[in-house]
Symmetry: C2
C-alpha cells in the first residue's frame, strides 16, 4: 500500500502570488506520491467582468451559464492550472495539469435542475483511480483544475473541495491516503475570531457540539461534512490547515486532524 | 516500430465550430497511435481585445508580452485545448490535453532578442519522446496546445507548426511517423488561385522551381521549410491537406505528399 497525499488549495492562496509561491515550495517537499487540486480564486470573476460576463452566486456557489463556463475553463483549466504546473516543474516536481476530461479520469453529470439551475455544474459520477495511479507510478504529480466533463463531451464546473474528496476516497481503495484541505485559517477554530484557538483533533461528537454551539458554522459546515464523509469512506487521515503550514500539518504538528 | 500520426490543425478550423466538429470526427477514426497539435485561432485576439490587451504582430508572428502570455495560456491552454479534449472523449478517443510543461514533455527557451523582441516566445530545446510514448502505450491521445515552458518555470508561446514538426521528428527515432498539416487549402497549389491545382507529390526540386516562379510564396514557405526539414530528420511521411480531407489524405488519396 503506497502513501499518497491529496492536497486542496483554495482561491485565497491562488489570488496571492507570494502565498502561492510559499505553498508550492512546501508542496514540492512533501514526501511520497501527491496530487494537488486547486480552486479558482477571484481571477475568474475579474476576467468575467472585463469580458462583460455577469457573475451570479447563489448560496456561495457560482452559477455557470455558457459564457461563465468558457471563463472558468480559460481561467481554472488554462491560466491557473498551467502556471502552477510550470512553477512546480521549476521546483523539480514533474507535474501534469489535468481536468476530469483529461485521460477520462473524472466523469460527471450536469447537476439536475431542482430549485436552482446551477447551469454547467458537474456532480462527480466516477473517478478512474487506476488511470491516476498510473500517472503516479510514472512519477508524475497530477494537478487538477476544478473541471470535469460528461459523456456528451461537455465540460462542467465542479467544486474543488468535493473533487479533492472524491479523488482521495477512490484512491484510498488501494493506497493509504492523507487528504489535506489548506485554507486561510490555521485549522478548525474553537472560537471563530481567535486564530490561535485551533482544535487539534476533531471527532464527530466534538463537531456536533460545536455546530450546536454555533462556533463552527457557515462555509466550514459543507467543508467538514465533506471531510468527515471522506474519512468514513476509507481515507486514512483528513487534515485542515493553513496553506503556510502544509509541511508541519502533514507531520501532525499543525492544523486540525479529523478523527472517526 | 509503431505507426504514429501527428496531426496539426490551424486556427481557421478552431474558429469554425462546424469545421472543428468534422475535423475531430475524422481525427477520431484515424487508425493507430495519434497526437494532435492545435493552433490558436482568432479567439485569443478577440479575448485580448475585450480584456484591453493589445495584439501586436510582426511578420505574421504574435508578440507575446506578459498580458498577452496570460491570454494565450487561457485561450490555447484552457478554452481551446480542454474543449477539444472533452469532444474527443465523447468520440471515444481517450484524449489528454497537454502543454510542453505538462509531464515536462517539451522544454523550450525564451527566444533571444535580436532585431525583434518577441516577448514570451519559446524556441524548443528538447522533446521527451519517451514520456509521450508512455502516454501512447497507455492508449492515451495527447492533444497539445502551442505552449511550452523554460527551466525557470515560465510558460512560453510556441508556433504550432514548429511544435508538431519537433514532436514528429523526435518520435521518429522509434516510430514510423506520418506528419499531417491540415489547413484551409486542399494541399500545396500549383496555381495559388486555383483550389483544384493541388500538387500530389512535392519534391525539393519541384519546391525550388515553384519558389523561383513565385507560385509557392508567403506563409507557405516557412510551413514547407518546416515540413521538408522534418522529412530530412527522419519523419516517414509529410502530408499537407485540407482539414476536411484528413482521412483521405492519410490514405494518400488527397492533399500533397512531400518526397525527399
Amino acid at each position: 500500500m503506497s502513501q499518497l497525499t491529496v492536497v486542496k488549495i483554495g482561491g485565497n492562496v491562488i489570488d496571492n502570488p507570494d502565498a502561492l509561491k510559499r505553498f508550492l515550495t512546501a508542496f514540492a517537499t512533501l514526501p511520497g506520491d501527491k496530487i494537488l487540486v486547486h480552486g479558482g480564486g477571484k481571477i475568474a470573476t475579474q476576467v468575467a467582468e472585463k469580458l462583460g460576463v455577469q457573475t451570479t452566486m447563489i448560496n456561495g456557489r457560482r452559477i455557470t451559464d455558457r459564457p461563465m463556463l468558457d471563463v472558468v475553463v480559460m481561467v481554472y483549466g488554462g491560466l491557473v492550472n498551467k502556471q502552477i504546473v510550470a512553477r512546480l516543474q521549476a521546483l523539480d516536481v514533474n507535474a501534469i495539469g489535468l481536468t476530469g476530461a483529461d485521460a477520462s479520469t473524472i466523469l460527471a453529470k450536469k447537476r439536475p435542475v431542482k430549485d436552482i439551475d446551477y447551469g454547467f455544474a458537474g456532480d462527480i459520477v466516477e473517478v478512474d483511480s487506476g488511470q491516476i495511479r498510473f500517472f503516479l507510478r510514472q512519477s508524475l504529480t497530477p494537478v487538477y483544475a476544478p473541471l470535469t466533463y460528461d459523456a456528451e463531451g461537455t465540460l462542467l464546473n465542479t467544486n474543488a473541495d468535493t473533487m479533492a474528496s472524491a479523488i482521495a476516497v477512490d484512491m484510498s481503495h488501494h493506497d493509504a491516503v492523507t487528504l489535506v484541505y489548506c485554507f486561510e485559517k490555521k485549522g478548525v477554530l474553537a472560537k471563530p475570531d481567535d486564530d490561535n484557538s485551533v482544535i487539534p483533533e476533531l471527532t464527530p461528537t466534538l463537531y456536533a457540539e460545536h455546530k450546536t454551539a454555533g462556533t463552527i458554522n457557515k462555509g466550514m459546515i459543507p467543508k467538514l461534512d465533506n471531510a468527515f464523509s471522506a474519512l468514513e469512506k476509507g481515507v486514512s487521515r483528513v487534515i485542515i490547515c493553513h496553506a503556510d503550514e502544509l509541511a508541519q500539518a502533514v507531520q501532525q504538528s499543525a492544523g486540525t486532524v479529523l478523527k472517526k
